[in-house]
Amino acid sequence: MNILKLRKAEELIFRIIMFLATTVIILALCMIIYSILHKGLPSVSWSMISQLPKGGFYFGKEGGILNAILGSVYLASGATLLAFVLGLPVSLYINIHLHKRKKLVNGIRFMLDVMWGIPSIVYGAFGFSVMLFFGMRSSLLAGMLTVTLFILPIMIRAIDEIVKTVPSGLLEATLSLGSTKSETAYRVYFRQCISGITTALLLSFGRAIGDAASVLFTTGYTDNLPTSLAKPTATLPLAIFFQLSSPIEEVKARAYASAVILTVIILIISIISRITSRKYQKNKIK
């Protein structure tokens, strides 16, 4: 009888600890968001997001972070677009053209998963050395290309996860109409997976806009708006990173404001992608 009680007590204790573990994770997220908003919201104002830094981003006490906001949006949009142009065909190809080569496709997926694990600093270092090799200076373009490489495996696998759920009956039906595999890919599978592809795009965009280590080497930093692909560009992560280490409070405030904006962008992305994966399903067969 005693043993039974002991067992019950043991289970109870562990259940409490396990419950606490889950709670701690939720609390950690709340704490992160709270501390960023608490510190940063007072600094967010219209002039903060609509002005360029004045007197240099590291010393000037005036001005805002428009340069970083626009720079990040340009950079992330460009990289997402490039990664999409490269990534979508790969996802479709391995599911349609390589439909019968199951083992090969699993090998490819395995490789892509491994690549997903490569840290962004490695892409950054690589991008930097390639840039030097071609005699390029740090620029929006160099950063965009580096980030493209970094998000490519993420993009491919995210789309692939959606495409691989399409029933092969649809492939058979489309091919029976005399479609080529490429037509099947772009005209039918693409539509069928449109909501999932949107989510994959958002996910990749979020990675692209948030990563600092890959752009640290390659985009440089500037007080100006991005006007050309060949010029250095400010980005939000670096706006936070550089300005946070400043001794001047007004400059730090710009870092905190940037942190709020970046966090809000990420939150919005994750909300939208939750919604899109539910909506846009009306043309989808189940």
């Binding site: 962004s120 936070i240 994750s270």
Partner: protein
Amino acid sequence: MALQVFHRTRILRSRIHSSWMTFALVFSLLLPVILGIGLYLKSASLLQEYSIWEILFSSKWKPLSGQFGMLPFIISSLWVTMIALLVAGPVCLLSAIHLTQYAKPIVLRIMHPVIDILAGIPSVIYGVWGVLVIVPFTADVIGPIFHKSITGYSILSGGIVLAVMIIPFILNILIEVFRTIPEELTEVTLSLGATRWMVVKHVLIKKAFPGIVSAFSLGLSRAFGETIAVLMVVGNVTHIPTGALQPGYPLPALIANNYGEMLSVPMYDSALMLAAFVLLVIVIMFNIVSRWMIHRLEKNI
């Protein structure tokens, strides 16, 4: 005839698409190889002067006098990643068991976005959080416990921040792993009169053990390559740390911190690219082994 032309252009278009698809696939798969070769070539000039072992196991880092011993950075990296795993591992394991075995579906529905958002928050934001919360916490709460006066910029702070960052990765994989264990197995054991907890202890953990190890090692390799967040809270002092409350200087932070000045010092850039190369190789190896183990687990069950 117009239709024939149409048909021919259609086939041609399909061929072009297929070629582009094949190119994109080959390019994507070669990416790690290209990365490896690029970084290796850049670090070759340093490797001509010193052997790789000399560099990895020497503790003398004096770029100005041509000494590039990376041991302090490697040891620092090991410290922060180990602390991160020690914190994140148990939390994730307990939470994953809770979520898959005990929790009501509603809890899982709450946790999915929580995990997503945690995984989506950029590294630099974790860094800001670390500076705002964890660093003062280490300085004001942990320090006094050990009767030390510290700034808080330390290996411990880096480890804690990293721990939170890798929680979503490990937790996600663990949930997947526990889901691959068939429900029947649990039911059979339950019907023998075991309690839920005994099932977890005697069946689930044992069955999932390779998966748990893989999840942890994936988390470890993720932590190993993390740059900006750690860099912001770890202190960045070049020495071989002997305690968690000391500052450290992990490998990725070394690369990130020195890109500006490295061009003027001979072979400095080679050394940093070698560091990136080492990082790449270690992370890829960790990933291959642990993903392979998970793959095997899923196949066997």
